[in-house]
Point group: C2
Chain length 360, copies 2
């Protein structure tokens, strides 16, 4: 018996989720390059690659280093989907990485491209231009992608395409479909602007677990979903997964009950504190659809049940274990050194989170 | 030059903060038992103890194990301020701990006390009853503290007092003062109920960085603030600290600018995602009082400046480093393996976060 709280993976569900998205991408004619920031775990990366993924997406040089080290000889194929500001030291790390893995990096400004070129010149790295498709985070407006690509090419970078992250698809109602349409439109325009500048946009890469079902293969060549191997409470509430497909939970022990309120020992230090305005709480209970996590401290989840649950005595009591679905699985996994993976025959395996805390 | 993002500690400010609260507690006749979940760091615990702290507070058995291992022979004095549900394995860990450290633990129910007594019977552990002073998380109503204490004593536990955490003092306006008053009232009533049951409430222990300035020594014997060595953006906005006393920041690099919006490479995986409704954003910039972090992704802080900053050209540009103050320093520290501590003479030291991820 593992001491609570801990994160556990249902490997049967995980494999089902990994397979379903791989099949869907293949059917749509899209390369699948899963975002490994979600799981940071070599065992899951291997499953994704075995199912047909063309490579992995990562967010940082540190994550790329971890997955390059974990891959078999022959090398990893890694996309750092972040507009790095390449200092001298980060440049040296990129050059080392490029010797060990096939590497693709991102730029979203002339200054950033110039800086990168000064550090990585001469090594074998693909470059893509980040486009803002409506999230208004990083990325250039699609109409500016050609100018940035041309500037990057002039300073010696090998520009192979464009990418975007439709993060504004994380929202209720019609947000997913609309963000997917904006993603397609933005990539189409940006790709055309590259062509206008004499650069072939071979790569046209988009998100994301909430938007993949709308990804059109006529414009996109590649998708980069992250969350789909596990699912999480955000995805449940967005309607992209159901409780039956959730593959990662925090196992917690109930330590307190007062009336219809229980407190479990999984707090923000294992679930993460993510709580978008449209979410119904700080996570969900896998086995109690009507319960809500109404507040979250570092080591306490305060969970409220409706009075009917109290009346029928169906709510958990102190000493019971509950399975908590984090709102955002990427930040939850980053809080632990390992996952307790339970295979379909009930065997427990320890899967190290090899890129935990690899922020830089 | 360290690669960004990373967490850095200004040791001069840290020592000033540690000293100020120690002096204040001594002047008020209160024992100081800082909550080490904030820093999880032996170097800071040592500073707190050297300044007069009577021991440390921790949240989990794992944290207690880390600090017991880090303390010099003679042993640590640790309070696990959490109503543990003591399984057989956690019981064994508590017994091992009790042999290495002076240990105090918490109960808040008859069932929890019975479970604990079954596992720790015979070893030298103090027990205190957790009281709910208005946060409505764990803890018994103050009027029930006597009954729980008496039940705990009957099953063989050594009950030495009561404690509460006035977490509802984390709020704007008058919340801190009101929560401190409720804390005092709750502990006074709970202590009396112990006396009514023939138990001497030697320990009457309260929070918390936001409420310590109101802590009354006539009822309380002890305070357990956590955040005060560092401060954070929440405390700045609550008015318990100022930018000049903030001792921990995330150093980040600006990677993008569009108009009055910049993006820095410190996201929720190094700042934490805590964002109470009353906070002005997801953290603050130490050197730009008017900037706000309007959204936070795993590796992006989107920071907006007012137009005046743009007009005068005073906002940071790509390649610049900025110092980001996390909203909640306890969850930020838990995301890294170590802190870059900069002493007053400019020397950099690496302080390991020895209890990172010690959730169980």
């Amino acid at each position: 018996m593992n001491d609570t709280p801990y994160l556990t993976v249902d490997v049967g569900r995980l494999d089902r989720n990994v397979h379903a998205v791989a099949v869907g991408a293949a059917a749509a004619g899209l390369d699948l390059r899963p975002h490994a920031k979600t799981h940071k775990c070599a065992e899951i990366a291997r499953r994704q690659l075995d199912a047909g993924a063309v490579g992995l997406t990562v967010a940082t040089i540190g994550e790329a280093e971890a997955f390059a080290a974990a891959q078999p000889p022959g090398g990893a194929d890694l996309f750092i989907a972040y507009p790095l500001w390449v200092t001298e030291h980060k440049g040296a790390r990129l050059r080392t990485l490029a010797a060990a893995a096939r590497l693709r990096v991102a730029v979203d400004s002339v200054e950033g491209a110039t800086r990168m070129a000064a550090e990585v010149r001469g090594v074998d790295i693909d470059v893509v231009v980040e486009v803002d498709s409506g999230q208004h985070r990083t990325g250039v407006p699609p109409e500016d992608a050609g100018a940035v690509a041309a500037a990057a090419a002039r300073v010696g970078l090998r520009v192979v395409g464009v990418f975007t992250f439709p993060g504004h698809g994380y929202g209720p109602g019609d947000a997913r479909r609309r963000a997917a349409q904006q993603e397609t439109d933005a990539l189409a325009m940006a790709a055309q602007r590259l062509r206008d500048n004499g650069i072939d946009p071979i790569v046209r890469s988009g998100g994301s677990t909430p938007t993949i079902e709308y990804a059109g293969s006529d414009v996109l060549t590649e998708i980069r979903p992250g969350v789909y191997p596990f699912g999480d409470a955000q995805q449940m509430e967005l309607g992209t997964t159901t409780a039956d497909d959730i593959a990662l939970t925090a196992v917690a022990t109930v330590v307190h009950r007062t009336g219809n309120r229980i407190v479990a020992d999984a707090g923000s230090k294992i679930l993460g504190a993510d709580r978008p305005a449209w979410a119904s709480g700080f996570g969900r209970l896998l086995d109690h659809a009507d319960a809500r996590i109404t507040s979250l401290s570092e080591h306490h989840a305060v969970i409220e049940f409706d009075d009917a649950a109290v009346d029928v005595g169906s709510l958990p009591v102190p000493g019971d274990q509950v399975r908590v679905v984090p709102n955002h699985v990427c930040t939850a996994v980053n809080l632990v050194d390992g996952l307790i993976a339970v295979t379909t025959d009930g065997t427990e395996e320890h899967w190290p989170v090899i890129a935990r805390g690899a922020n830089a």
